[in-house]
Structure formats: C-alpha cells, structure tokens
C-alpha cells in the first residue's frame, strides 16, 4: 500500500514510518484510552458500588444488578417501552424508507427537489422539532387531529393518553424516514442497469425485477439500516424528555430516559452504570442476532466470487 521507495532503505525507514503512524493516530489513541476504554472499565466497576459523586463509592457487590433485575419498579417497564417502539418503528421505517427510495429512483421531473423535501426532516432535529411536534399532537388545536377531523375521525389525546403517547412518537419517527431513504437511494443507484436490461429481455416484469434483482442486491443496506436503527432506539432521549417526560404514567419511559433519571436526577451513579452496561449487552446481543441471521437474508454481491 505504502510506496515501495520507502521500503528500500530497510528497517530504519519502516521504523520511522511506524513512529509517524503512531504519532498521527495518537489523538485518537489517547482519546480512546482516556475517554472510552478507561471509562468503560470504570463504569463496570461502578456498577458494583453505590456512588453519588459527593461521597466515595461504597462496594455493594451484585446489589445494583439484583435490584435492577428483581426489585426495581420501572427497569423492565422502560425496557418494554423501548422494545415496543423498536419493534414497530424500525420495520415501519425500513419499509417506508425503501418504498420512498424506489419512488425517488424513477424518472420523474424535478427529482432533486423531491429528494430534498423528503430528506430535509432527518437533518433538522433536536429540541425545536420535539417542541413543534408536541403541538402538532395537541388534541385541541393540533393539525393532526384537524386532519383526522377532515375524514370524520375524532382524534385521540395523543401525548396525554397512556394508550396513544407511544404510537404518537412512532408516527413522529416516520417524518424523518428520509434519512434511511438517502442510504437506500445510494444503494439503488449502484445496481448495474445491465441487470435490469437483461431481465427485461428475459421477460421479467416490474414486480419480478424488484423481487429478483433490487431486493436481493440492497439487502446489505436494509441490514445496515436495521443495525443503525436498533442502536439508535436505545439512544432515544430528546423527544421523550421534551415531549412527554416519560409520561403519562410512564407510558413513554424509554430506557435511556430512565438511565438519565437514575444517574443525574437521583444521583444513583452505580445503578446508572449497571443500566449502561446492561444496555451495551443488549445492543451487542441484538446486533449479533442480526448479523447471524443476516446469512439467511443478506446477499453480498462479493460472495459470489468466493465460490
């Protein structure tokens, strides 16, 4: 990879190269030790203690872990809320994102304008969007219930209702489905058109071309979006904090929000660390499951060559 001219002078030069390599990556390496590896070990240790920053940590063995799994009133509940959201919102987002990408990959006028409109919501985010949506869901004057009233439906109380608060957040997630769409679009455009031409000559219709060519060739991207979606759901915070603050009656108490409360509201840093490590464990298991199962449904073009 590196120019052969360096290698000619032998060891001193390769040693110099190694020195440069480590010098250049040192910002990351130092950061990794200082901000990632060290804290990871520290939070593992903290999870076996009671700690509130002010008083020194007190070793409690498996106390936090046992409490978390058996006694904590909301731990399993917060996990259930998060998984419910994930199971509905992620597949819905994957399908809609793909459908949108397929539509935006056709030959229609002003294609760039369409793509821009659909991609924009995934760029604007944060508190402003959360605030905005909390009024869109307003049962009295929000535009969602206004739209529903146009077709004769009396809209629910959305964020104020234990039953509808979580569905409301799922509906909101569909607004930014354009983020996944852009990734699909990049994938769709890298499919060689010759494949489609050949299939058409062989008499394949639109539907067949989709199932036999498009879908198999973009499974790696679906897979990528799936993994990113799972990890993202466990980071879900801003909307739950700003729009519902976990309520009503903990109906939207996402895992990350509960972790935040334990750690920073109630100064239970040991318990928070246990929750964080359990979260890492869940994300690892989920990602592994997706990776393992991917052999069954993900098609990598490169694999053909290995046969």
């Amino acid at each position: 990879m590196v120019a052969t001219s360096i290698r000619r002078k032998g060891l001193t030069l390769s040693r110099r190269e190694a020195m440069w390599a480590y010098l250049l990556i040192s910002p990351w390496l130092i950061g990794f030790i200082w901000l990632t590896a060290g804290p990871m070990i520290a939070s593992a240790v903290l999870s076996f203690t009671e700690y509130d920053v002010i008083n020194p940590p007190r070793f409690v063995g498996l106390g936090n872990w046992i409490y978390m799994f058996t006694a904590d009133p909301l731990f399993w509940h917060s996990l259930k809320v998060t998984l419910t959201y994930a199971i509905v919102a992620i597949p819905l987002g994957l399908v809609l994102g793909l459908a949108l990408a397929l539509l935006l990959n056709t030959k229609i006028p002003a294609i760039a304008v369409w793509r821009t409109i659909y991609y924009m919501p995934s760029v604007v985010s944060g508190v402003a969007v959360a605030v905005l949506w909390s009024y869109i869901f307003n049962p009295r004057f929000g535009i969602l219930n206004w739209l529903l009233s146009l077709v004769g439906i009396r809209g629910p109380g959305w964020l104020g209702s234990t039953q509808w608060a979580l569905p409301a957040l799922i509906i909101m997630s569909l607004w930014s489905v354009g983020g996944g769409m852009i990734i699909y679009l990049a994938g769709l455009q890298s499919i060689p058109t010759t494949l489609y031409e050949a299939a058409t000559i062989d008499g394949a219709g639109t539907w067949q071309r989709f199932w036999r060519i498009t879908l198999p060739l973009i499974t790696p991207i679906i897979f990528y979006n799936l993994v990113i979606g799972i990890i993202g759901t466990f980071q879900y915070f801003v909307n739950a904090y700003v729009m519902t603050n976990g309520g009503p009656a903990n109906a939207t108490l996402f895992y990350n929000l509960y972790l935040y409360r334990n750690t920073f509201r109630w100064s239970r840093l040991g318990f928070g660390s246990a929750m964080a490590w359990f979260l890492l464990f869940i994300v690892l298991v989920m990602t592994l499951l997706v990776f393992k199962s991917s052999a069954m449904w993900v098609y990598y073009e490169g694999e053909l060559k290995k046969e």
Partner: protein
C-alpha cells in the same frame, strides 16, 4: 404478457409517472406541513394560534379605532349592499353599526346578519420578543462557540488520525483500526458516567469544557469516513511529492487535503449540525443559565412559556433556520457523505 406496441408502452410510462408524482405530492405535503404550521403559528397572536380549525395564513379580526376604543369590523348587508362597518354597540340581537369614515352614518342591523372581517396580519414582532423572553442571544452565542470549536477540533483531529490509518504501516495498526470501528457501535452511555465524574473532578462541571475538549480526540465515525476517502487518492501523488522533498506532514498538506475538501466539508457539516442540535451533553453539564446552549434554552422556553405559542414557534423557527440553510447550501455534501461512508466501505 400481452404484446405491447410502442404507444401502449409510452402510455403506461406516463400513467406510471403520474401515479408516482401523485403519491410523492401527498407525502411531500405531509412532510412540509409541520414546518409550514410552525412558521404560520410563529406569526400569529396568542389567541389566534390555538384556533380550531387552524388557519394556515395568520389572520386577525379587523378592528378600527374610534375615539380611544377599538371596534370589530363586520361586513353587513345594508340597503341592498354589503358594506364594511364597525360594530359600535349591541342592543340585544340588534347591533348599531357605524361607518368608521363617517360616524354620522349609522345603521341598526341584526348582529347575526353581519360577518366579522378578517385581514392578513403577520406578527413579526414575535421574533424579537421571543429573543427577549429568554436570553436567546446568550444561548445562540454559547451554541456558536460549541459548534465552531468542536467542528475545528473534530476536523483537525480526525484528519490527522485518518491520515495515519490511511497511509502508514506499523505493527498493531490493523488491530487498532478494528478497535476504532468497534467503538462506532458503542452506546455512549457506557462511558458517560465515569466521564461525568472525571470532568466534575477536574472542576469542569457547569463549564463548556466537557463539551469542547473531547472533540479534539477524534471521533471514530468521522475518522472512518475520512480514511475511506483518503484511500481513494492515488499513491503516485504521494510519491511525486516525496521526490519533491515533502515529509509526511507536507504530503498531508499539499496532496491529501486539497484532494479531500468535499469529504472534510461533509465531516464539518455533519458535526456542526450535530453540535447545534445536541441536547444531552449541555443538559447534563451546564447548570447556570448564562452558559446554556440554544437547545436547552428552547426547552426552558417550552416548559415555562408554553402559553406563548407564537413566541415558542418563533424561537423554534430561529433554531431550525441555520440547519435548514446549511442543508440547502450543502445538500450535495450530505448525500456524498452517505455514499463515501456507507455500505461500500
């Protein structure tokens, strides 16, 4: 499949196009509606902002001042014509309407027969008022510091690190690169609490340091993106520069950087948007109000002045405008970022 003539194929294609455009139009309206509602609400008054059904164009009931009082204007049928008159007084079901330009001209008409007149009125004053309600100027300034400093830190550190991974060989470097890739997947909560404790022990709680300093230690995702890009630059260029007497830093400066401006811009833009929108880290580290960023300020506005909906929407609009502008200016770079980093890696 039936035999198709060229004409029927063409027809089919046009019908298909119309179907696609119809679906996309409906979707686009749904996508844009929240933003249009936000803009429209930000220009209304507190009372008109919560009207149902919502009006998309901010309308105020038309009033005229007679003497020192305001009177609503109605369109009333008088003497076979419909005229705009002020409702001066009500006597049971009958109203006394006057011509505001000629107060002598009075009519007694049933109030029911008149209809209130509305006029388009954009309350731009909501914007400067929102800035005064909470010290938004301070928040914007803090956010700008956060965005600018961390963007510089991220771009510089990630460029250097990515260059190291892309162009140099050393024992253990491959393993370290795998480690770097693994940290992309790492949920930040796992490092959050000890970092918080550490920064607090440094005396950095309630300062911007915990937000700024980590940016200078390279972010795994951006390093990966830049490295992928650097790898596409031909090595022959490095060799040529080396022959001309360039050292490693010279090659980075004269060869790699000029070739990678789109990738660097992508990293800068993605990061600055992230920092501008970031809510979590300012929330846990910044306590005193004068240090808050826009996201925290907006959250405070939302929880304290939720009755002032137009003001709140004006503040939200001001928060979103920079991101929308950056998005439109740098659209290409966004899509490029997805293509470089994604999938094909």
């Amino acid at each position: 499949m039936a035999k198709l003539t060229w004409q029927s194929i063409k027809l089919q294609r046009i019908v298909g196009q119309i179907a696609v455009i119809t679906i996309l139009s409906v979707g686009a309206i749904a996508v844009l509606m929240p933003l249009i509602w936000m803009l429209s609400t930000s220009l209304k008054t507190t009372s008109t902002s919560t009207e149902f059904p919502p009006k998309w164009i901010p309308l105020d009931a038309k009033k005229v001042t007679i003497g020192d009082r305001d009177y609503f204007v109605y369109s009333v049928p008088v003497e076979g014509k419909v005229r705009e008159l002020a409702l001066f007084q009500k006597r049971g079901p009958v109203g006394i309407f006057v011509n505001p330009d000629n107060l002598e001209e009075r009519y007694e008409v049933e109030v029911q027969k008149g209809r209130r007149v509305y006029e388009v009125k954009l309350h731009w004053e909501n914007y400067p008022e929102a800035l005064k309600t909470v010290p938004f100027g301070t928040y914007i300034w803090n956010s700008i510091i956060y965005v600018v400093v961390t963007t510089i830190g991220t771009v510089v550190s990630c460029t250097i690190v990515a260059y190291g991974f892309a162009r140099f060989r050393a024992k253990g470097l491959d393993v370290l690169f795998l480690l770097l890739l693994a940290t992309i997947m790492l949920p930040p909560q796992v490092t959050l609490i000890p970092q918080f404790v550490l920064f607090t022990k440094f005396g950095w709680y309630d300062t911007l340091y915990p937000l700024l300093v980590p940016a200078f230690f390279a972010n795994a995702w951006n390093v990966f993106l830049l490295r992928q890009y650097f790898m596409t630059i031909p090595l022959e260029l490095d060799d040529a520069a080396r022959i001309d007497g360039c050292g490693p830093l010279g090659i980075l400066w004269h060869i790699i950087l000029p070739q990678s401006l789109p990738a660097l811009a992508t990293v800068a833009i993605f990061h600055s948007l992230w920092a501008w929108n970031d809510f979590f880290y300012p929330l846990i580290y910044l306590q005193s109000k004068e240090k808050w960023t826009v996201s925290i300020g907006l959250q405070q506005f939302n929880s304290i002045y939720s009755r002032n909906l137009p003001g709140l929407m004006a503040a939200s609009t001001m928060t979103l405008i920079p991101t929308v502008v950056i998005f439109f200016v740098a659209q290409r770079l966004f899509i490029q970022g997805v293509v470089i980093s994604g999938i094909k890696g």
